[in-house]
């Protein structure tokens, strides 16, 4: 790979990872139900009269994360590190639901994890259809089309992360809708259809549809986009939503809805923001997946940052549940405990993935733990009963804001062990990128404010690392619960945040400047968000741009940390040692393999859990930015990837579903 690095000097102009920020935000309402002014702390855990739903067996892939504890752990062990090199395509299916944005539809971004349950593979598409496939052949059983509005109402692209599945504990034969598959749409409609036939369930909402926007009543500016499938437990759907970030100061406040899985009726809601803060803020919603400890009866939610995302001068009151991981009582939605991960968030560091739940062994004790990955690159390992840190979280002094009106938090939580997935400082100017830009990278860097982690946005521009597009994205990590080895992919992205006083911002808008500018209407500042690239689109910072790492959760020690994937630009692949920005997540199998797509280079890989070495890889039609599903069907183990692409990585999209298995 050294050769590639050297030769690069000629091809380099082509390099460059266009990395934008990945956000989904949120908006939303406060509806009827219990919503206390979030005590950042504790009640006691609910009585443990809970247990896993009997139909959700460990050999299925029945939820977005494989199981409710978000372990992403597959028990099939037919495919091993020794034979994975023989893995071949078993079948392939194309949904037809794809758009490159050139027509009248926005580009599609497809990150749906397929579900394997009820002897069927269920997938949701970015056109919000549900398709049921035969798990062994990929042949279509049925499809449901809600004829959804295919417009960029909140997100710039048509996005979908899949479907959810529920079934009655004792399904009655011949009766419809004893098993239901759900899909949400960008315009806030949640559909429930019979899992065997694909026909809408009349008993669910109105003729099979619940309009979640009926509860969008405060600071209503856009629909509550249902891009992430609900989490299902005990006949209840737990539902968050995504909205539009960065455009307004006051957005709909983040609300989590608990709905009856059969009827769609509202059971309870949870709001992360206190009512008195609503006039000048919003969001702090849950746009990623959630996890559940069935025995404790706790729902763990990743709460995003409040609006406006880059300026907090008008929301100085404490918002303890914003940018937090919070545990709710599954039956009531009441806060059991909450831990804020970023104080007074002015970087858009949404908590963005379901925490992974696992019991770890430390000092001779078994501790019920959770691991929360983050955009800021920290891995927070907490006692999931109490929210208390298992590995220390230190409050460290951080740089002050120099923006009039802003008051950054004096300290921020810092985790030294496990080692952060991204370093504390950015890697410095990449000589190659600097040379190509005739020194523009270094001269730009010299002009910017750069005080390390949690440097606040500034009027002259601040280097932010890790920034909103960095660290670990919505997929989170995976864990092998037999060894407590935790694996997580991450990205290293340097971004520049510049606040712009309102008058100047309006002038720029009149001048037609728009790319990278966001108004935060209602606040004194708009802002500009740039990824630190040179004129050729090449990152100004030194690689690697993405890594895959493994940790021993019993000690916190990092076992290995390898550059992962390859940057691809104009078709050219950059050296392995550079790694790739990643979106997606790994799955671990019992046999000691990691399956993951996630990289820019449109490849899916099998990696040795012990060493981090790539054992197998296969080319697919676009970046596979969804986590795979792994299951055994009729005696054969399958690994299924949805290949949809993501405009954040590359303008390359697909509608491919591809299954791999060992040859007969």
């Amino acid at each position: 790979m050294i050769a590639k690095t050297i030769i690069l000097a000629t091809a380099l102009l082509l390099a460059g990872a266009v990395i934008a920020s990945s956000q989904e935000t949120n908006t939303q309402p406060a509806a009827p139900a219990a919503n206390p002014e979030q005590p950042a702390n504790p009640a006691s855990p609910p009585p443990s009269n809970h247990a896993p739903d009997p139909w959700m067996k460990p050999d299925l892939w029945a939820t977005f994360n494989g199981d409710l504890m978000a372990q992403k752990y597959a028990i099939p062990d037919q495919i091993t590190p020794d034979n994975v090199k023989n893995l071949t395509k078993a079948w392939e299916f194309h949904t037809g639901d794809v758009s490159d944005g050139s027509g009248n539809k926005p580009m599609s971004v497809w990150s749906a994890t397929p579900l394997f349950v009820n002897d069927t593979l269920y997938i949701g598409t970015p056109f919000y259809r549900i398709i049921a496939l035969d798990p062994g052949t990929g042949k279509q059983k049925w499809a449901f089309d809600p004829h959804a509005v295919l417009k960029a109402l909140t997100q710039p692209d048509l996005k979908n992360r899949g479907v959810a599945y529920w079934q009655a504990d004792n399904p009655q034969k011949g009766a419809a809708c004893q098993k239901i598959v759900y899909i949400g749409t960008m315009d806030a409609k949640l559909y429930g259809v019979d899992a065997d036939t694909g026909k809408p369930c009349a008993s669910f909402g109105k003729n099979g549809m619940v309009d979640v926007n009926q509860w969008n009543t405060i600071n209503k500016k856009w629909p509550l986009s249902l891009l992430q499938p609900p989490t299902v437990y005990h006949n209840t759907l737990f539902l968050g939503w995504a909205g539009r970030d960065w455009t307004d100061q006051a957005d709909p406040p983040g609300t989590v809805f608990a709905l009856d899985a059969r009827t769609g009726k509202l059971k309870w809601t949870f709001d992360a923001l206190p009512k008195e803060a609503i006039p000048t803020t919003g969001t702090a919603n849950v746009w990623a997946s959630m996890s559940i400890d069935p025995k404790l009866g706790l729902l763990y939610i990743p709460v995003s940052s409040p609006s406006p995302n880059m300026y907090g001068g008008d929301r100085k009151e404490k918002l303890p549940l914003a940018t937090s991981v919070t545990a709710l009582d599954v039956d009531t939605g009441k806060v059991v405990w909450s831990r804020q991960l970023v104080h007074h968030d002015i970087w858009d560091l949404d908590t963005n993935s379901a925490p992974t739940l696992v019991d770890i062994k430390k000092d001779g004790k078994t501790i019920p733990a959770l691991v929360q990955s983050s955009k800021q690159g920290f891995l927070y390992v907490l006692n999931r009963k109490t929210g208390e840190p298992i590995y220390p979280i230190e409050e460290k002094p951080v740089p002050k804001s120099d923006v009039p009106g802003e008051q950054a938090a004096a300290t921020q939580p810092y985790v030294a062990n496990p080692a952060p997935v991204t370093p504390d400082r950015w890697s410095g100017v990449f000589p190659l990128a600097d040379w190509i830009s005739l020194g523009a990278c270094s001269s730009e860097a010299a002009k910017l404010r750069d005080d390390g982690r949690f440097t606040p946005p500034s009027l002259k521009g601040s280097i932010i690392f890790p920034a909103t597009a960095g660290g670990t994205e919505w997929g989170g990590g995976a864990v092998d619960p037999t060894t407590n080895t935790y694996v997580v992919n991450s990205s290293r992205v340097v971004q520049i945040y510049t606040l712009i006083p309102r008058k100047d911002y309006q002038q720029k808008a009149q001048n037609g400047e728009s790319a990278g500018y966001y108004p935060q209407t209602g606040s004194p500042y708009g802002f500009r968000l740039q990824t630190f690239l040179n004129w050729a689109g090449m990152p100004c910072w030194k690689p690697p741009y993405g890594t895959l790492a493994a940790y021993d959760l019993n000690t916190g020690k990092r076992l290995w940390n390898e550059p992962f994937g390859e940057v691809q630009r104009y078709g050219f692949y950059m050296p392995d040692s550079w790694g790739s920005v990643t979106i997606g997540a790994p799955v671990i199998t019992k046999s000691g393999l990691i399956f993951i797509g996630a990289s820019m280079d449109s490849r899916v890989r099998a990696i040795d859990l012990k060493t981090g070495k790539v054992l197998w890889r296969s080319l697919v039609d676009a970046p596979a930015v969804a986590m795979p599903a792994v299951y055994t069907y009729k005696g054969k183990e399958y690994v299924v990837f949805v290949v949809g692409g993501n405009s954040i990585l590359l303008p390359k999209v697909s509608d491919q579903v591809i299954a791999y298995a060992l040859p007969k």
Binding site: A3, K4, I7, T10, A11, G571, F572, Y573, R603, L619
Partner: protein
């Protein structure tokens, strides 16, 4: 050297015909193969580089390589400096296309360019230049 590199074609009547430079002929053939491989790379959906700028680039560069190789082979009466420039440009094309193929992970195209480079080298040192033009050797 030129004995091996340049052969005379004779017709059935035993008359001497146009001399053929085997390395240049090989280069032409390999260039044509390069065009085909690059075209397949450019238009075969699902190979990771189809319809990318890099794929179009190597398609163009291999077409130029083919044209230049044909000119050098067929334009035997051209001035030496012109053939020299063309041979140099062919070298750059082979090198550039090879590097591009390497970064595209288009290893078949890279192999073709490597063979082409060998043919170019042999042609250069074995009489592909003006000095061997017109000689009839068997």
């Amino acid at each position: 050297m030129s004995t091996a590199a340049t052969v005379a074609e004779t017709d059935e009547g035993g008359r001497s015909a146009r001399p053929t430079n085997i390395p240049l002929l090989l280069l032409c053939i390999l260039s044509a193969v390069g065009v085909i491989v690059a075209a397949v790379d450019t238009f075969s959906q699902g190979n990771g580089i189809a319809f990318s700028g890099g794929a179009y680039l190597v398609l163009c560069s291999t077409i130029l390589l083919l044209i230049a190789s044909l000119i050098v082979m067929l334009w035997s009466s051209g001035p030496g400096w012109a053939r020299g420039i063309l041979l140099f440009l062919i070298f750059l094309d082979l090198l550039g296309t090879g590097v591009a193929a390497y970064f595209l992970d288009a290893y078949l195209l890279l192999a073709v360019m490597a063979l082409g480079f060998i043919a170019w080298l042999v042609g250069l040192f074995a009489g592909g230049s003006r000095s061997s033009r017109g000689r009839v050797v068997a």
